[in-house]
Structures are given as C-alpha cells and as structure tokens.
Symmetry: C2
DNA sequence: GAAAATTTTGACCGGATGGACAAACGTTAG
DNA sequence: CTAACGTTTGTCCATCCGGTCAAAATTTTC
C-alpha cells in the first residue's frame, strides 16, 4: 500500500521538510537579488544558517533549488489570470485582474524578480513551461476577452498585447522598484506608492488619457 | 597647447579607438545576455575576436567595460523623453513618445536588457545616475504633463505613474522578448509584433478600454 | 539504551575566472 | 637602421565556486 511502482513521492522526515523550506526561502532572497549565475551556494547556505555541505545534503545541485523555486513560482504567478472569469462585467473583471496582479508585485517582489531574471536571460530553464502551461492559459483567456470584444462590451483591440501590458505595468513595480523609488523620492511609503499606482492603472486601462467632453 | 593640467581626455591612437569600440560592441552582446556576473572576460574577448590579455590591454578591469557601456546607454535611453515637448498637441506628443520608446525597444533590445539587468539587481553601479540625471529629467517632464492636465488637455492622473507605465509597456517587448514570442507563436515576425504592439499601445493610452457609446 | 538511520561538519578537489606580467612582435619616427 | 613606442600573446597565479567524501554528531526506532 505504501509502495507504488512509479514515481513515488519522496518520503521526507520532519527535519527534511523544515530545512528544505528554510533553504528555499533563503535561495529566493539570494537568487532574486543576484540572478542564478550571480548567486553562490555559500551565500544561500549562510542566509539559511547552515554550512554548504549541509545544504547540499538537502539539494544535491544548485540548479535543483532554482528549479523547485521556479516551479512553485509559476503557480502563484498565474493564479490571478486563472481567476479572470467570463461571468460578470468585463471592465470589472479586468480591473480586479489588474489589482490582483499589482498586489502580487507588492507582496511577492522577490518572486517577480526571480521570474524577470529568468526571462531576461532567455528563459533557458523554463522555456517548456512558457510554451506549454503559460501559453495555454493565455490562449484560453484571450478567447474570453475576444468574446467580450465581439459583444461590444469592451473596446476592440489585440487581447494578447492587452495581457502583456497588464503584466508589464504591474510587474514594473516589483522589478524596477529601486528606480521607481528613486524617481518618486522618499515622500510616499510603499503603501502610498501602490495605492497611487492602482488608481492610475485603473484609470489608464478603463478610460485612457483623452479628456472626456463636458 | 596640447597639454592641459586637469583631466586631459585620454589621447588615443586610431587602433585604440577602433578596438575599444569593437570590445564595447561585443561586451554589450555578452552582458545583456548574461548579466554582469554571468559574463566572462573570455566570452567578451572571443566575441570581439581577440585574446583575453589583449582585451585587458584596452580595458583594465571587467567593470570598466560595463561602466562605459552603461554611461553611454543612459544618453540614448533618455533621448526620447528629452524630446517630449510642451509645444504641439499633448495627445500627439505622448503618442510619439510611446512610438519612439517602442522603436528603441525594437532597435536596441540589448541596451534595454543591459539596463533591466542593472536595475533588477538593485542598480548597484548606477544609483547616482538614477537619482540625479534621470530623476531631474523626469521631474522636468512631469511638470510639462501637469500643465497639460491643468489645462484640461489630457485626463487628470498621476504623471509619474504615466511615465512608468510607458516605460514598462514599451521595454517589455525588449526585456521579455522570449516570453512575448513564445506566447504569440511564430506566426508574426518581429515587424508584425511591433506593429501590433504600437497599434495596441496607442489605443490603450489614448482611449482606454471602455467602449464608446454609439 | 543500543542499533540504525539521519543530519552535520571539516577537509578537500578540479575547473573556471579575473587579472598580472614579461617577453615577443609590429610600427613608426628620426 | 635603430630606438622608441604601441600592440599582442603565452604563461602563470590566486581566488572563487560547485560539488564530493568520510567521519563525527545527532536523532529516531525498537
């Protein structure tokens, strides 16, 4: 009963589960700040409060840590888009999608940067996921958006580029955080920045910039 | 006459000028694809068609190459924003700014990625430039945009976030190119992608998504 | 509480990488 | 022709880094 022939889930002790989690947390910090190549096992080990050989007891190779991290990431990352639903008002749906995505940039900036780092370098380690899972999901949601357009419920434009623009604008606040902060100055704290951004993006996507006739 | 007391521009032979240019071109390729840490002097030397010690004859340290590259980059990079002008129709001005910025993403993707890499890692090497030159320019243009808003010539929103959103959406096509390509599929070549993007962004920024009443 | 299994550590290895250097090789000016 | 200067190369070094290994320390199991 406890043994299966194929791909049994690795049996893990309490310590293994805890330590692996500790390592992944530390690795997220280090990878997102330095990229895969820029991060060293020693750095991760130190951030996790253990020796390098000890870390390598839990993850045999540096790449294994990275891979685990990325695999988890993508689920979290695509969750907001998965929620985009055909029922309800299209503009409201899109507005909430933008808000959710912006909240992810605020609450998980390290995950965003990890992803950005990976894509920037040509996605060497996650190309299959991009071409598979991600593309499928996008195609799916594009169909929904096209439906809205055909019904005249939102403007008629390119749905792919609409999704890209939402990704770009929201992730910008995580990936380019230092630049945003430097330009805005220290006046507004993190909360204020994201409030302003949310307000702005909502208006941009719904109304655009052309002034309404009185 | 040929000697000045302070900081004389380095006197360079013809060969030096040529070879330095060759190295910078090669380094742009390698740095933008691998990040600073991920790039090796050997790779750059090979891409430039010379031996490592020979390369080090022209640039003493890896960082020197990177620094030179980044310094040049910022000028090119901010040129489109510099052109944003108070004269002329605001919507037209913004439209051309977006188009120019998108053209830069298309024509100089390596520069875009070099910049993105640097910011992603916390801008360790160019923080002063961001807080100085870049911020000053942005503040300047924000004033212009605010004028337009006060005059009711464009919608009233946050001008800083407007600029961020233009940066984000346009640079996305350079920095996340592999993802964009993977999602769109191979149907449309580079030209088609950028045409579609330009059309979409123009509509988004000017009109937004809310359908016009008939 | 002893045997078995798991976890931790220190020492070590081989290859990559940034950089130094002196010697050799051109090139040019007098 | 040759001295001076600029350019190129082969060799070498120290450090870093990913990863191994055997032995010690600890925890779990019976």
């Amino acid at each position: 009963m406890t043994t299966t022939v194929k791909a049994a889930a690795p049996r893990r002790t309490r310590i293994q589960t805890e330590k692996r989690e500790l390592i992944l947390e530390a690795a997220l910090e280090v990878f997102s700040a330095n990229g895969f190549r820029g991060a060293t096992i020693d750095q991760i080990a130190e951030a996790a409060g253990m020796s390098k050989p000890n870390l390598l007891y839990y993850f045999h190779r540096k790449e294994d840590i990275h891979e685990t991290l990325i695999q988890r990431l993508l689920d979290t990352w695509l969750a907001p888009l998965r929620e985009l639903d055909d029922i309800g008002d299209p503009l409201t749906e899109l507005r909430s999608y933008i808000r959710r995505k912006l909240e992810m940039a605020r609450d998980f900036p390290r995950e965003s940067r990890l992803f950005a780092n990976e894509i920037l370098q040509g996605a060497p380690r996650i190309m299959p996921l991009i071409e598979g899972e991600l593309k499928t999901l996008v195609d799916d949601k594009v169909a929904v958006i096209k439906g809205w357009m055909r019904a005249g419920r939102i403007m008629h434009t390119d749905p792919y580029h609409l999704i890209f623009s939402i990704w770009a604008t929201t992730q910008h606040y995580a990936d380019f955080d230092v630049q945003v902060r430097a330009v805005l100055g220290p006046d507004r704290g993190s909360d204020g920045r994201f409030e302003d951004a949310a307000r702005f993006l909502e208006q941009l996507f719904i109304e655009g910039l052309r002034p309404k006739p009185e």
